[in-house]
């Protein structure tokens, strides 16, 4: 430091030194840093010099500064650590650098970055101290804000990490609790992870599973050409593999029926292009369904056996009734007969619903003359419905490949519904047509009609329109069975209806199945 290195220059100054001196003073006043010099040889180390910048920083004028000890800048804020550092430096005659809280004349706090250095004479005695000060309030503030910001961010990161961990724990607890075996595969069909249920179901360890190719697991149970083809398409097309059944003699667990579903995981980033496979053991479920079907088959057979006797003997009674019986007798016979037929239909329908639900409704497709079968069905229905006239128009001239018995069941159902729900009108209209490679049948009545809301639901199992429940008997099975049959034939069934105007039911089925 210029001043401290040789202070004697000033006092011994000649012309050249005088020039240097005034230059030095101008330079000191031009500095943006506040500069003070204290006299260590006087009591309490008073300030003997301050530059313009110091006046500006402190807010005090020169006359209020000279002669004071620097501590006036600290106001009442006396217990700062920095003060201790300064005291030690003064004591040991060393230089120091501190950041200290100072107060302007108006009381405002400012952060002072103070460089303090001792000035010694030729004998090494410390005669003065020089202090260079910079107002770093803004910097300090920015730093403080930064610190605060950092703290806030750290807190947020901490909170979010906790949340994330909780989420993860939550999700993994779900995954581990799910009663379905789950596998995650990479795009090369290697297993990345598996849940507990997988290990338990297949009685395998994670070592035997993770990192292995799906097709190499166990004794190659998933190594099925058809499945491979489907899985290959998952990533490029996003077509999931749905309800793929695998019946296999699995190691450790024996012969089982597994239901496999596979999906592409819809995530970007590190989880992109993963395949999730869910495997469900449906061996027992299928067995229960089979037993339920068997039970219902037997139950319906056993229910129909006495019904056969009732119907037959009733008809014999009617036929063998002696001459001269009142007309009412025949009316009663007919009414009982209708009830027996209805009971028979209900038993048949219940069995159908059960079979449809367990997917065991078999279709026996054969070629038949569609127009002829429709005509025969109408004729039969007409013979038992004397109050209505069924009017048939159009033709398909098609030989249809379908399950005749089931299609007849659908037509019967639609005709019976049309008659049942139009008690006050006489005509039922049937129209047959050929549309492209489909046959289409429409059954129209001018009866009570179906409101819009119920139209969406008439094909639901056990659905019955609220207003019909009391007026018309039924279980809500017929249309459900119809829709299932038509669906099984790759056709569609739909309706148009207006309340009070009547209803038209339509179905189409492909001519060549």
């Amino acid at each position: 430091m210029l001043l401290s290195s040789n202070p004697n220059i000033v006092s011994e100054g000649g012309h050249v030194q005088g020039l240097t001196f005034s230059l030095l003073f101008s330079a000191l006043n031009a500095s943006v840093s506040g500069i003070i010099i204290t006299d260590n040889q006087q009591p309490d180390n008073p300030i003997i010099y301050c530059n313009t910048a110091f006046e500006k920083i402190s807010g005090y004028s020169r006359s209020e500064i000279i002669g004071h000890n620097c501590r006036f800048l600290q106001g009442k804020d006396r217990s700062q650590k920095a003060r201790q550092q300064i005291a030690v430096a003064v004591e040991k005659a060393e230089s120091c650098k501190v950041e200290i809280r100072n107060y302007r004349k108006n009381g405002d706090l400012f952060w002072n970055e103070l460089f303090m250095a001792p000035v010694s004479d030729a004998s090494g005695k410390v005669t003065h101290f020089i202090g260079v000060q910079n107002d770093i309030t803004l910097r300090e503030k920015a730093e403080l804000e930064l610190l605060e910001q950092k703290a806030v961010m750290e807190e947020q990161v901490r909170e979010r990490t906790i949340k994330l961990k909780e989420n993860e724990a939550f999700l993994s607890s779900i995954i581990e609790t799910v009663r379905e075996s789950l596998l995650v595969l990479d795009p090369d069909f290697k297993v990345i992870s598996a849940n507990d249920h997988f290990f338990k179901t297949f009685k395998v360890s994670s070592q035997e599973t993770i990192g292995k190719l799906l097709y190499d697991l166990g004794n190659g149970q998933w190594n099925i050409e058809k499945l491979k083809e489907l899985l290959l398409k998952i990533l490029p097309t996003n077509n999931p593999v749905l309800d793929f059944e695998v019946e296999h003699e699995f190691p450790h667990i024996g012969k089982k029926l597994m239901l496999l579903n596979a999906y592409r995981i819809e995530l970007e980033g590190q989880y992109k292009d993963r395949i999730l496979i869910a495997i469900e053991d449906i061996t027992e479920r299928r067995e229960i369904e089979r037993r339920k079907d068997d039970f219902l088959s037997i139950a319906s057979h056993e229910l129909k056996t006495p019904l056969t006797s009732i119907k037959g003997f009733l008809q014999m009674l009617s036929r063998l009734q002696p001459a001269g019986m009142p007309d009412q007798y025949q009316v009663i016979f007919d009414k009982v007969n209708v009830s027996v037929d209805r009971l028979n239909m209900l038993i048949t329908d219940l069995l159908d619903v059960s079979r449809i639900q367990s997917g065991n409704m078999e279709i026996h497709k054969d070629n038949f003359d569609f127009d002829k079968v429709v005509a025969e069905t109408i004729e039969q229905m007409q013979s038992v419905s004397p109050d209505h006239t069924i009017i048939s128009t159009g033709s398909s001239r098609a030989l249809v490949k379908a399950d005749e018995q089931q299609i007849v069941q659908v037509i019967n159902n639609l005709l019976a519904n049309a008659i049942k729900y139009s008690p006050d009108s006489k005509e039922i209209y049937v129209h047959i047509s050929k549309v492209s490679d489909y046959v289409k049948l429409s059954v129209r009545d001018t009866g009570v009609g179906i409101n819009l809301e119920d139209q969406q639901r008439v094909f639901q199992r056990f659905f019955r329109g609220a207003e019909f429940q009391k007026k018309f008997a039924g279980m809500g099975i017929g249309l459900y069975v119809c829709e299932q049959i038509i669906k099984n034939h790759n056709g569609t069934i739909w309706l148009n209806s207006e309340k009070g105007q009547g209803t038209t039911f339509n179905f189409t089925i492909p001519i060549e199945a």
Partner: protein
């Protein structure tokens, strides 16, 4: 049609239906042999030479379709008219698969049954 033969053998394990079938057949003018045990059917056919056989499907020991198969395998009997009557949902398929001449679902209409008796028996 079997000239001059009005004999029909009827087998159903349900006594009530067996009686009903017998009554309808008699009313139609047939000579009737009713059997409730399916094991006796083949023997009866060979002894009685009926014009028509009426069989239930689900019967204990020997089912209707088993009897039908036996009949169709026998060169002397393979043309014998056989009617299958069943309350089973698959009855028609089973009957057709095994070469039944006619099929009637239970509960049947006695008009249809009478028509069958009149068609195959000389009455």
């Amino acid at each position: 049609m079997n000239k001059g033969n009005s004999k029909v053998i009827i087998c159903d394990d349900d006594q009530s239906i067996l009686e009903l079938l017998g009554l309808v057949a008699e009313t139609a003018g047939c000579e009737v042999v009713t059997l409730s045990k399916s094991m006796e059917v083949m023997k009866a056919i060979r002894q009685e030479h009926p014009a028509l056989v009426v069989l239930d499907l689900w019967m204990p020991v020997m089912s209707g379709d088993m009897i039908l198969q036996t009949i169709r395998k026998d060169t002397a009997l393979k043309e014998l008219p056989v009617v299958i009557i069943s309350a089973s949902r698959d009855g028609r398929q089973i009957a057709e698969l095994n070469g039944a001449t006619e099929y009637l679902a239970k509960p049947f209409d006695i008009m249809d049954l009478t028509a069958i008796f009149q068609k195959y028996c000389y009455v």
